[in-house]
């Protein structure tokens, strides 16, 4: 019996050594010069390869950061914790990161007011190619056919009665939907901005009232009554500067179209001076 043991140990051990040598030699010959920090860097990144940083995946982003071609806080999905980890590995101070989240600038108010009946491939990119760019009266609104839902890797977008809705907690801010939407209705906003103005229409008031139940008509009331001067109206469309906005809620009360709303659905109290609770 001992011969069996000796033979098997000799054979397998021999093969082990032989292959170990071959692999070692091959690893020298085929040595790919990689920065040894690349391995831990790619480990620290979330690994979703979502492309939010503009590179072809976490590996590509890590090597870009190492070559200094990308900022350390370039990973929107990872945000501050990942940036801190990368800084730790690189031994450099991490820049300040602001959490971004996607916002659909349309309430779906004009969804049922149609220019013509659209029958075709249930996809925004297809519908956009038709005359007028949309079957709806409002030429700026969300078509609600779900192209963004297909592109979102984190399942944060869904179509709810004809308009795209963002799940703020699921959304990691990778920006895939912003690029995917043919009507450019989705944009990245600060997660902490207290109010949101869900409208994308630059049409004058007369047209908007025909095309949508609560589209922005550019009446300027919100801009006039905002003490912090956070809201500016350009081309009949109000937009908010997240840095200045104090979340006081006067604009929510003042808006005749009931368009502006508090983030997180906290209804602003009627009296304008009431401190709006942080959503």
């Amino acid at each position: 019996m001992t011969t069996v043991i000796v033979y098997s140990v000799a054979l397998l051990g021999g093969m082990g050594v032989l292959f170990g040598l071959i692999l070692a030699l091959a690893s020298q010959v085929f040595k790919v010069e990689t920065d040894e920090r690349l391995e831990p860097m790619t480990e620290a990144l979330p690994g979703a390869n979502c492309g939010g940083c503009g590179f072809a995946g976490c590996g590509a982003f890590a090597s870009a950061v190492l070559e200094g071609k990308a900022p350390i806080n370039g990973c929107p999905v990872g945000g501050a914790p990942v940036a801190a980890k990368l800084a730790g590995i690189m031994g450099v101070e991490a820049g300040e990161t602001v959490r971004k989240v996607a916002q659909v600038r349309c309430t779906g108010g004009g969804h049922d007011k149609l220019r013509y009946q659209y029958v075709g491939i249930h996809d925004c990119e297809a519908a956009v190619r038709l005359p007028g760019g949309t079957p709806m009266l409002c030429s700026f609104g969300c078509l609600g056919m779900g192209t963004c839902v297909k592109y979102c890797k984190f399942d944060a977008l869904s179509i709810v009665d004809g308009v795209a809705k963002v799940d703020r907690e699921q959304c990691v801010g990778c920006g895939a939907c912003v690029a995917a939407c043919p009507k450019h209705v989705i944009s990245m906003v600060d997660y902490d901005c207290p109010i949101e103005i869900p409208c994308n229409s630059k049409a004058p008031g007369k047209e908007v009232t025909k095309a949508c139940s609560n589209g922005c008509i550019g009446c300027n009331l919100c801009a006039k009554f905002c003490e912090a001067k956070a809201i500016t109206v350009t081309d009949f469309l109000a937009s908010v500067d997240p840095a200045k906005c104090t979340g006081c809620g006067t604009c929510v009360a003042k808006c005749p179209r009931k368009l502006i709303s508090m983030v997180g659905g906290v209804a602003a109290v009627e009296e304008p001076a009431a401190p709006a609770a942080e959503g």
Partner: protein, 192 residues
């Protein structure tokens, strides 16, 4: 010469590794999203299988000589693992694009049942050196045929509307079962 032809026919069509013998399904499902990665994977598998059958044939002779054939599995899998590691290093150096495209599925070739399956079947069938190398290569070609066919099917599937629950892998599996059904048609084709 005709046994080589018979082996080729058998390995590619009649006993296709993936669709008839259930070997190598994980990369078959995992890498077949795009046909160019599928071809890349197929070629890597052919290369590994051809080399593996050659080396494992020699190892088998050694095992028989020392009369420790019980070690067949572990000796074969060691050979295959080393070969795959060599292919991985070569691809990383020579073709980084294919290397990243194959991703985790390159090391998984080692556990690819098809490769070990072909090595073990070679010894069971008692093929000589040339026949076993031919068998390994043609089994790899059979694997590539199946994976490329399947990749084209899946690429067309992206645009068809299928029930929400079936999206992704389930619809791919159902189409794989239809493919397996067609390959069963070859089973009557006994040449040798």
């Amino acid at each position: 010469m005709e046994t080589i032809f018979a082996i080729a026919l058998g390995a590619i069509l009649v006993e296709n590794y993936v669709l008839v013998q259930f070997l190598g399904i994980c990369p078959f499902l995992g890498v077949s999203k795009k046909s160019d990665t599928a071809i890349g994977m197929g070629l890597a598998v052919i290369f590994v299988m051809a080399l593996a059958s050659a080396v494992t044939y020699l190892v088998q002779q050694l095992l028989i000589l020392l009369d420790i054939t019980y070690m067949q599995t572990i000796a074969f899998i060691l050979v295959i693992a080393t070969l795959v590691q060599l292919v991985e290093m070569f691809l990383q150096k020579a073709m980084p694009a294919l290397y990243t495209a194959l991703g985790v599925y390159l090391p998984l070739i080692t556990t690819n049942c098809a490769v070990l399956g072909s090595a073990v079947l070679n010894t069971q069938e008692g093929y000589n050196f040339i026949e076993s190398v031919a068998y390994g290569t043609f089994a790899g070609v059979g694997f590539t045929l199946a994976i490329v066919l399947f990749a084209n099917v899946r690429e067309r599937q992206e645009f068809c509307k299928c029930p929400k629950a079936f999206e992704g892998i389930p619809i791919a599996l159902v189409s794989a079962s239809l493919l397996a059904l067609c390959f069963m048609g070859f089973s009557g084709l006994k040449v040798w």
